[in-house]
Symmetry: C2
Subunit: 220 residues, 2 copies
DNA sequence: CGCCGCTTGTTCACGTGGTCACAAACCCTT
DNA sequence: AAGGGTTTGTGACCACGTGAACAAGCGGCG
């Protein structure tokens, strides 16, 4: 299955949940495309990778497609998650996702700072990052989230891999090297902002040197 | 310039900063590729879009390339940012990025909850989302970050656009529709985890809970 | 001063993903 | 039961991005 398709499946899943919430029994590829914000033909081709679960002239059964897609995405089981690094971002993630999403229970929190270890965040006691192997084995953790500073990220990644974690979501602004068999995805806020900056500048009409001399603070 | 190239420029920028920090005067495409985690040929092709700033037989002058890239990315000027939605994530972003990155000062915070409006986060007073037009104009805000629940995201996006914001970074798990001329990028934690879940399951050898007595439609 | 090694910039072939278009298949109506 | 309208599934085509290979160009060395 194409990687691009895999990346869209979660969007379809969410759109299907919306449709289900609106009491729709079936949904057409066109409607689903509208909800997911993509092309209708792309939706059909993507869904065809899962199998022929649609009915010509009718559309897709929402319930059934939801089940099949959840199964394909591996959401019929829980995937215990460990968060490493409990700065601002790590704490926010611990609190945010605990009630935000089902299927990814946060069962472990780790940090290297002895002042943080032992404290409790979102009902989970923070352990030392050294204990990762034991913790991971005990909870069957397969997904790790890195929310440390960039300088510590590679070390944490190595520890996660050594502890048997084979999926990593990296929030640290650095490139991580991991074994072939480990999946890794990154979320980099600075990169996103810089991309926006690039297009923003383009629209603003090329490089603006110092044309801005706006007197701010007038609002107060 | 290809969109894929634009998305990599920030990686090169960060790698160049690392090289600069290591007192490297020049850098080869191969070394830069290693730092950025991409192919060397891709690096050269990407950099060629910026112009011929390299020297054959030597490499790229780190200082000079840094300057050119910063200019291209629009980082020679500040881009004031507004964050809308100050739940766990919004607050973390306000605290995290304030000292994390240069060039994107957080000059405004907005929320719709009257209990949050008026409080102070990271030294900035939270204003009501209704005041966005005034605030945006006063600070020259061109980038907005949406950190609200999904249900409020489209409304906030509309308000941002109406206030003149033309670049949006969306953390809410929903598809936003904005005018053609507005750039939008999304960061969706649930989607990232589900993608990891997909590959994780594949590696684990198919569905982990196979003891299902589902009477699969008898195939004729 | 000319040769040699090194690195860039560019060209080319390839693979992946996106879009279009249409036959096949299904439901509903008559 | 047959036909019309609707929607899926898929094959063909096109655009884009990637990776390798190579000539052009630069600095250093004898």
């Amino acid at each position: 299955m194409p990687e691009a398709t895999v990346a869209r499946l979660p969007l379809y899943l969410r759109s299907l949940l919306e449709a289900q919430h609106a009491n729709a029994a079936t949904i057409s590829s066109e409607r689903l495309a509208e909800l997911a914000g993509v092309n209708a033909a792309k939706v059909r081709k993507d869904l065809s990778y899962l199998g022929s679960y649609g009915t010509r002239g009718v559309g897709y059964d929402v319930e059934y497609l939801l089940f099949q897609m959840s199964r394909e995405l591996g959401l019929t089981q829980d995937w215990p998650v460990a968060i490493v690094g409990l700065g601002n971002l790590g704490q926010a993630l611990a609190n945010y996702m605990g009630f935000g999403d089902r299927g990814f229970p946060i069962v472990a929190l780790c940090d290297a700072d002895p002042r943080v270890v032992g404290t409790e965040v979102h009902g989970v006691v923070v352990r030392h990052v050294e204990d990762l192997p034991v913790i991971a084995a005990a909870h069957g953790i397969s997904i790790g989230i890195i929310a440390t500073p960039a300088s510590a990220a590679q070390d944490v990644a190595d520890r996660l891999v050594a502890a048997g974690v084979s999926s990593i979501l990296n929030f640290a602004p650095t490139v991580l090297s991991v074994p072939e068999e480990v999946s890794i995805r990154k979320v980099d806020l600075a990169v996103e902002l810089q991309i926006l900056s690039f297009y923003q500048q383009r629209r603003s009409g090329g490089p603006k040197l110092p044309p801005l001399d706006i007197p701010v603070g007038v609002e107060d």
